[in-house]
């Protein structure tokens, strides 16, 4: 049974209910509204981004529900992105961040995780200046603040 999703720019997308419900936000909306043909408005997601999100949900429509991985290491790993997901995320930086924002808004945790892992992999191995350059971030620290951070965190640095 298809549902209709309407993007920020009023473009309509017909998708299977099963695919749309990969988004917990949409799933809850459908449950609240009940049986209805009315399109679901998504005012925060443009058509271009929604196209990508739907592509992801279609590919992963049969994935099992994610279970929290309880391992000893509190930090999650970012080296385990699947081949298809890696190709899916080969987009320009603006689209990458739009996908992350959309996944956050639509509550699609696996897509949010993949997006964050992709950004994490961009950040890894870079110096602070290289990170700033990669994302157009301005350094707003004073030299005194920089010295203080160094002093506070030296104990944790890799030798």
């Amino acid at each position: 049974m298809p549902v209709t999703l309407t993007s920020l720019d009023n473009q309509e997308f017909k998708v299977d209910k099963e695919v749309a419900e990969r988004s917990i936000l949409i799933k809850n909306m459908i449950e609240d509204v009940g049986e209805s043909d009315a399109p679901i408005p998504l005012p925060n997601v443009s058509a271009a981004v929604l196209t990508k999100v739907i592509e992801y949900c279609e590919h992963h429509r049969n994935d099992p529900v994610q279970v929290q991985d309880e391992t000893d290491d509190p930090r999650k790993r970012s080296n385990d992105i699947e081949e298809w997901d890696m190709k899916f995320m080969q987009v320009d930086q603006e689209m990458l961040f739009e996908i992350i924002l959309a996944a956050n808004y639509l509550d699609i945790k696996p897509l949010l995780d993949v997006g964050c892992k992709t950004v994490a992999n961009i950040i890894k191995g870079k110096t602070p200046e290289e990170i700033r350059k990669a994302f157009n971030i301005v350094n707003d620290f004073t030299p005194e603040e920089e010295a203080q951070i160094k002093k506070e965190n030296e104990w944790a640095e890799d030798r």
């Binding site: 924002l101 509550d107 890894k124 944790a156």
Partner: protein
């Protein structure tokens, strides 16, 4: 799950430090200015990357500081590894896991003091504590640290590197008060007073999910087999302790091979047989299992009689067992997924037995059989071609001739860890068949390739290293370097290749490096050792 933030211009903090993409008229804040997105990101960054990220901007520092401290590791036997006292004071409330290595003397201004001062606001987040004590004198501060957080601690791990604790009863008093304790690891400490054991066991049976014990200790109680007689000297043994409601993961290792102690260990295993899913039992040396009255046979009979219905593991490396026992056990273990029988007589007959059990064949995830002298390359090749769920495989000699003429692919596509010794008989160099087989293991993260004796494994770009370019998840790579083999050294080209194709590489060992290659690795913070890393 995060609720959606209403994104409006000017709302996100630090927005003015982010420009957005140069040619896009961004009205909404950049995702990397939104604290919630940074928090999600933080969970995927290792410690060093978090430290670098904190130096990017004020907003990033604020967002990532809690994650730096969430798992705090402090080596207090090295002054340069101690965080400043005031820094700890400011950030203690972020700490969920605290890992300490310490000596006995604790100066007044010692960084861990904030955690153990009774007038310091309790760190409600501190749930996991790992302490390695170099010297066991005067550990009052550490025990008060446990007491101070007894309402919140769920996991405690204590290792004494040197000798027994001075006042073990202090420790037990502190641990007994940790009412939410679910995991306890206790190593290298001697219990001397039998009456202390009662509290320990009563506490353990009712609370713990996971218990790891190593070092010299003993347990009281009777065993229902008349062969097991209570050793003299124990007062007031409890004849029946209610079975454990929860204990599912039990590790006992490194204890002395005193017969009574092994009986006591067997008794412990019996107490939690119904709930156990994981059992690792490895004394310093084994009593021979062929003795009918041995503690090992007692435990085997428990399993064979179906009294451990949830047990998923058969972890008894170094044990001298008989084929009959093995067959009885595996047939009874309907949930078996993990086998460690390294340095045992595991061989052809055991493999044949396993092959008659289709459920086991499809479910086995971990198979560790290093040092099994009855294992052959044909069996190893057979295993790699017929165990689809294998994630960790450690075995001995695989000959290239075992692979070359066998058209079957390796079907263990989920394999993450592989340790093998490869024997070359067709040529002095690794055959491309081995490399192409390896290259099909796309999820491989840890790969250790050895050669018999001191022979060298040549794995350079000229001998097919580039065939392993598909192994993008590689984190640890070890190839055995022989003595005096300059033709097997890695130069800069090899390291550059690895950096490009193995972006998650953390450790490289065994292979000899040129000086420049070593510098390149160091610059990318990849750990290197000319011989094997200690695990």
């Amino acid at each position: 799950m995060l609720r959606h933030r209403e994104i409006q211009p000017g709302q996100a903090p630090g927005q003015d430090t982010l420009q957005g993409a140069p040619d896009s008229p961004r009205r909404r804040p950049h995702p990397l200015a939104i604290p919630e997105i940074l928090c999600l990101l933080a969970e995927f960054l290792d410690q060093q990357t978090t430290l670098d990220a904190m130096k990017v901007s004020r907003a990033w520092r604020t967002a990532f500081t809690p994650y730096l401290w969430k798992d705090a590791q402090m080596n207090m036997s090295m002054p340069e590894r101690e965080p400043p006292y005031n820094t700890v004071l400011m950030n203690a409330h972020f700490v969920h896991t605290l890992r300490l290595r310490c000596k006995h003397t604790v100066a007044l201004k010692h960084p861990i003091l904030p955690f153990s001062l009774s007038n310091f606001p309790t760190c409600r987040n501190l749930s996991k504590l790992t302490i390695e004590i170099m010297d066991t004198n005067n550990n009052g501060t550490l025990f008060s640290l446990i007491l101070q957080h007894s309402m919140f601690l769920t996991s405690v791990s204590l290792t004494a590197a040197v000798g027994p604790l001075e006042n073990p009863s202090d420790l037990w008093n502190a641990l007994v008060k940790c009412i939410h304790l679910r995991q306890l690891e206790y190593a290298g400490m001697r219990l001397t007073d039998p009456s202390e054991h009662m509290e320990l066991y009563l506490m353990l049976w009712s609370r713990l999910d996971v218990l790891k014990l190593s070092g010299d200790w003993c347990a009281p109680g009777t065993l229902d087999n008349p062969v097991f007689i209570i050793p003299k000297g124990l007062d007031d043994p409890i004849s029946e302790i209610p079975g454990s409601g929860r204990l599912r993961d039990l590790t006992i290792e490194g204890t002395h091979m005193h017969r009574d102690k092994m009986k006591a260990q067997a008794w412990m295993i019996k107490q939690c047989s119904a709930t156990l899913t994981r059992l690792y039992w490895k004394p310093k040396s084994w009593l021979r299992a062929v003795e009918k009255a041995s503690p090992m046979n007692y435990v085997f009979s428990l399993i064979a009689m179906g009294q451990c219905p949830n047990l998923e593991t058969l972890l008894m490396p170094g044990l001298d067992y008989s084929l009959d026992i093995f067959t009885e056990l595996v047939k009874k273990m309907r949930r078996l997924t993990e086998i460690d029988l390294a340095a045992t007589n595991f061989g052809f007959w055991e493999w044949t037995t396993l092959q008659t059990l289709p459920w086991h064949m499809s479910a086995i995830r971990v198979l560790h059989l290093e040092g099994c002298l009855n294992m052959t390359g044909v069996i190893i090749q057979d295993m790699l071609c017929s165990l689809p769920s294998l994630e960790s495989f450690k075995a001995g000699n695989l000959w290239d001739i075992d692979i070359i003429d066998d058209p079957r692919p390796w079907i263990c596509k989920d394999l993450k860890e592989l340790v093998l010794t490869i024997v070359f008989r067709t040529s002095p160099h690794p055959h491309r068949m081995i490399q192409s087989r390896l290259s099909s293991l796309l999820r491989l993260e840890i790969c250790e390739l050895n050669r018999p004796h001191d022979e060298c494994f040549r794995m350079t770009l000229q001998s097919g290293l580039d065939r392993l370019g598909s192994l993008r998840r590689m984190r640890r790579f070890h190839v055995q370097a022989g003595k005096d083999a300059p033709w097997a050294m890695w130069k800069e080209e090899e390291v550059e290749w690895a950096l490009k194709h193995w972006p998650f590489l953390e450790e490289l060992s065994g292979v000899a490096l040129t000086a420049r290659a070593q510098q390149l690795l160091c610059r990318h913070r990849i750990r290197y050792a000319p011989t094997r890393f200690r695990s």
